[in-house]
Symmetry: C2
């Protein structure tokens, strides 16, 4: 009943399985992952189907993919880890912890904007890929290097990731909604906005209506930056409250 190592249950996370025996022609796996990324970059999470990936690869059937990625979940694991590799992670700790963390967060933000599907999928799989672990390890090293306990370090790392991926999710879903709803043409867009605005007016929401009439405020990039600084400020205070920079 069980397919391998793990005692039983259900699909046991591709990271926990032995590396594919890789006997004869290991020219694929990477190609499959690359094709899947291309498909998802183009159409987001909804477009990522096994059939679409096979089509992207050319002369292959859907089932051929299963030889290389085990399941769709496994493919997603590989995709997530692959693009996480686009984020540069320093090899050693620098003198300015905040600058290093800021750079990591910014690079992460740039990556998730390139790959709109990332934020939609990252929450659905355990983050056990080597590059994802390396990235987390770096953050932990930075914070513990500043005297934080391991628990606090993980708290800070999680808090920053939540912000990065949360912001990306917002952008991704907005884009998806714009595609998926009938809002291709500008005419339909304004029509939809006007209808929503009327609802706001009728319901007695003056501020909301005013905003819908003329959406204003920081761009998502600026919002990202702003919140990031808020969070880094908070972490800074907590780190300096630390009894003593130890180890």
């Amino acid at each position: 009943m069980s397919r391998n190592g793990q005692s039983s249950g259900a699909p046991p996370s591709i990271w926990l399985q032995p590396t594919t025996t890789a006997r004869k022609r290991q020219l694929e796996r990477d190609a499959v992952v690359r094709a899947a990324i291309a498909v998802a970059d183009r159409g987001g999470e909804v477009a990522l189907t096994m059939a679409a990936v096979a089509r992207e690869l050319g002369p292959y059937t859907t089932m051929a993919l299963y030889r290389y990625v085990g399941s769709k979940g496994g493919l997603i694991d590989l995709m997530l880890d692959d693009v996480t590799g686009e984020i540069p992670v320093p090899d050693s700790l620098g003198s300015d912890w905040r600058a290093q963390i800021y750079a990591l967060a910014s690079a992460s933000w740039a990556m998730v904007k390139r790959h709109i599907w990332f934020a939609q999928l990252v929450h659905t799989r355990p983050p056990l890929g080597p590059r994802m672990m390396r990235r987390t390890e770096f953050m932990l090293a930075v914070f513990t290097g500043q005297g934080a306990s391991l628990g606090d370090a993980m708290t800070y790392a999680a808090l920053l990731d939540r912000h990065i991926y949360g912001s990306a999710l917002q952008e991704a879903e907005e884009r998806a909604m714009r595609l998926h709803f009938g809002i291709e043409s500008a005419r339909q867009l304004t029509a939809a906005i006007m209808a929503a605005r009327e609802r706001a007016a009728a319901g007695g929401y003056p501020n909301l209506e005013r905003w819908m009439a003329a959406p204003s405020g920081a761009s998502l990039d600026e919002q990202f930056e702003l919140s990031l600084q808020f969070l880094l400020d908070g972490i800074t205070v907590r780190l300096s409250d630390q009894p003593d920079p130890r180890r």
Copy 2:
């Protein structure tokens, strides 16, 4: 081709359609929504299928639901708005803006913890429900009342919601993963953790491995609280930098 009002395109958001003519026996809609919420509360997003909702209602077929909610998307709209109604929103502005926003954020957090599916679904639909609009309107009123521009007010509101829903998403997905992977029994859980930990050790991630060996740090509730305070601190500074509390 088009079903009603809106010129064309695709499912035009249930909020923008005329309220159902409500001629003969309008005993349902609410019952459908309640049943759907019950189903999703139990099994999360993945369990929310039209068939499951019909089964929950008892003697109805799947297709019967479509008379009342138009589509699955429409049902989700109604569910999201319904539970948003569980968040108390003050009728007027108090003297302590931070306390009011804090209370709203805390109540929102409590709600999304009760309804694990909320964070998974809120990003997939435009937030046009009356109760969602009312909640947003209140936040805008608070911040503009403190002298913020409308754009800044929306920025702050969005930033807080991102944190609330992002935190909820993390909790929801962790729970979903625990259910969906073979981690029903404690034995399997520890086995999975140990395997992951070995990967961390092999990869040379000492901090990560140490943390996996003995996960520590703030609970998700404490993390939520911590980040919330960071964000409120940041907003406070920005509000007090405002030239003058106007209007």
